[in-house]
């Protein structure tokens, strides 16, 4: 297998954007989908479509079996011994909200504390703010260092006897910082807190072993790892899932309903009310197979190699500032940058005219942007189907931006 051959599996890479070949460098927002995933969606609707866990007819049996097979595949992907500890949600945001509602509401009380970090995505801030307001819980955020990393001493210092939850991202979506997950989990656990890992930017690129992480909750989305949109995962320790309240009420999540009272269904169905996103769950399977066939380690080497070259291209321009850790071992395939005197939006528009799709703005990390004293950044993020041609397109877009806006090489960075 060579990475060059993989491109033909992704039909969208053949399209033109504003007359130029697409250079898709917005993988941290969502990945593109291989033919195998797209075909699985079509195959499901054309040949197997039926509701799950209902009825005894053949199609229902098939669709139920297909969803549960993917659940088992996700469990294997996470090295989780039991598939019933894998709850399907819409996305990581919903997974985190599920924990806030079903665990937080039940177990947290006035005066308890939740520790998080300044580098979180809004999805790992806002659910806790809502909970804090409702329950009188205090939120504490570990500061981000100027190089975009966390100081473990400061993480330790944030923990108190009142800390009931430590929730953090494994990899920063805005800066590409790769956090020392296992050490961070250890700090939270020694403080007696439950630990949630937002693995959205980790799962597409690096293996997860929930056992060796030692966390209580792990959340991620399928759409960033070749899977369809609308399907996400919450993994949690079985005893926590057992003790938690349900999230949404409705069909599928109950075992017995009378007009006075209901009893909850077994795991994981207690947390999956209503008809689930069957087709997208089914099509997540071939995405996991695809990643497995290539191997996350070689995917990561490939994309991080491209990211290193991208930093070299960008860094060669004196007016460009690169954000995030200088140490390559602490960085993912995300390259966040700013050009002196230019707003990221204007940069993004010129890149788009060259067919280069990058993300510009605050990356749903407004508190982090405020801390770094920038309104936003431009971000190129790489995945397995990117190659040298994407770097060339990026270099052309950069040159065009600097020339058009007459950015002086001596321009001071804001």
């Amino acid at each position: 297998m060579s990475f060059a051959d993989l491109r033909k599996d992704f039909p969208i890479l053949k399209r033109l954007v504003r007359g130029k070949p697409l250079a898709y460098l917005d993988n941290a927002a969502t990945s593109q989908k291989p033919r195998q995933v797209i075909s699985a969606l079509v195959d499901f609707y054309e040949n197997h479509n039926a509701n799950v866990h209902r009825g005894v007819h053949t199609l229902s049996e098939e669709s139920t079996g297909m969803v549960e097979a993917v659940r088992a595949k996700v469990a294997a992907f996470l090295k989780a011994p039991k598939p019933e500890t894998v709850v399907f949600t819409r996305n990581a945001t919903e997974s985190i909200n599920l924990v806030a509602h079903a665990w937080g509401r039940k177990f947290l009380k006035v005066g308890d504390e939740i520790v998080s970090t300044e580098m979180e995505h809004h999805s790992n801030i806002v659910p806790w703010q809502l909970l804090a307001e409702e329950k009188g819980v205090k939120l504490r955020f570990v500061p981000v260092e100027p190089d975009g990393t966390l100081d473990l001493e400061k993480v330790r210092a944030a923990m108190t006897p009142k800390t009931k939850l430590f929730t953090f991202t494994a990899v920063s979506n805005a800066l590409g910082t790769v956090n020392p997950v296992q050490q961070l989990v250890g700090i939270g656990k020694s403080a007696g807190a439950a630990v949630l890992v937002d693995a959205c930017q980790w799962a597409p690129h690096r293996p997860i072993d929930v056992g060796s992480w030692g966390a209580d909750f792990v959340a991620f989305s399928a759409h960033k790892m070749l899977g369809p949109t609308g399907i996400g995962v919450l993994w949690a320790r079985e005893e926590l899932l057992e003790k938690m309240d349900p999230f949404l009420g409705g069909g599928d999540m109950i075992s017995r309903v009378t007009l006075d009272k209901s009893e909850w269904n077994a795991l994981p169905f207690k947390f999956e009310a209503g008809t689930p996103n069957i087709a997208d769950a089914v099509a997540f399977g071939p995405a996991l197979d695809y990643l497995d066939a290539i191997g996350l380690d070689s995917i990561r080497r490939h994309e991080e190699g491209l990211a290193v070259n991208a930093r070299a291209i960008l860094g060669a321009e004196p007016s460009v500032t690169l954000l995030g850790p200088k140490d390559p071992t602490k960085r993912s395939g995300v390259v966040s940058f700013n050009i002196a005197g230019l707003h990221p939006h204007d940069v993004g528009t010129v890149f788009d005219l060259e067919g280069v799709a990058i993300r510009v703005g605050h990356h749903c990390c407004q508190p982090l942007m405020k801390k770094l004293q920038c309104g936003g950044t431009a971000r190129a993020s790489f995945y397995l189907y990117n190659d040298e041609s994407d770097l060339e397109a990026m270099a052309r877009a950069l040159k065009r931006t600097l020339e058009f806006f007459k950015v002086s090489p001596k321009a001071a960075v804001r």
Partner: protein, 152 residues
Amino acid sequence: MEGDSELQDLYREVLMDYYGSSTRKGTLDPADLRAHGINPVCGDELEITARREGGHIAKLRYTGHGCVISQASAAMMAEALEGASVERARELIKAFKAMMLENAPVASLPEELEQLSALEGVRRFPLRVKCATLGWNTILQGLERPSGEEPR
């Protein structure tokens, strides 16, 4: 870039001039109109302060951060609305938004908004239209509140 007509159409020279201009940048204190606008997509922010006298917008200032389109449009908005009657200001806001959002012909812009035709090229970039209208929506929101010192 010389000859980059595609970009020149979007970022016309007049926009670059307004973007770099500080003529109406600042904050008025006291002010009887205060409005804060934010574009949640990109985080661009504008703070507009104005003083109304005898049914006119006597003075209008803005501060904030954002892209060329949002900042240049705010600067042109401040220039066009300062001195106008409140009633006229509403008409001008409406006319500008009609050009950006409803594709109204540039030739239909009132005389005071002549220079706003420079934003015509933005209509080809639907996601950037919100940048161009940020200042105008912000002042409109301020005008629609009852007169008096607004809470910050």
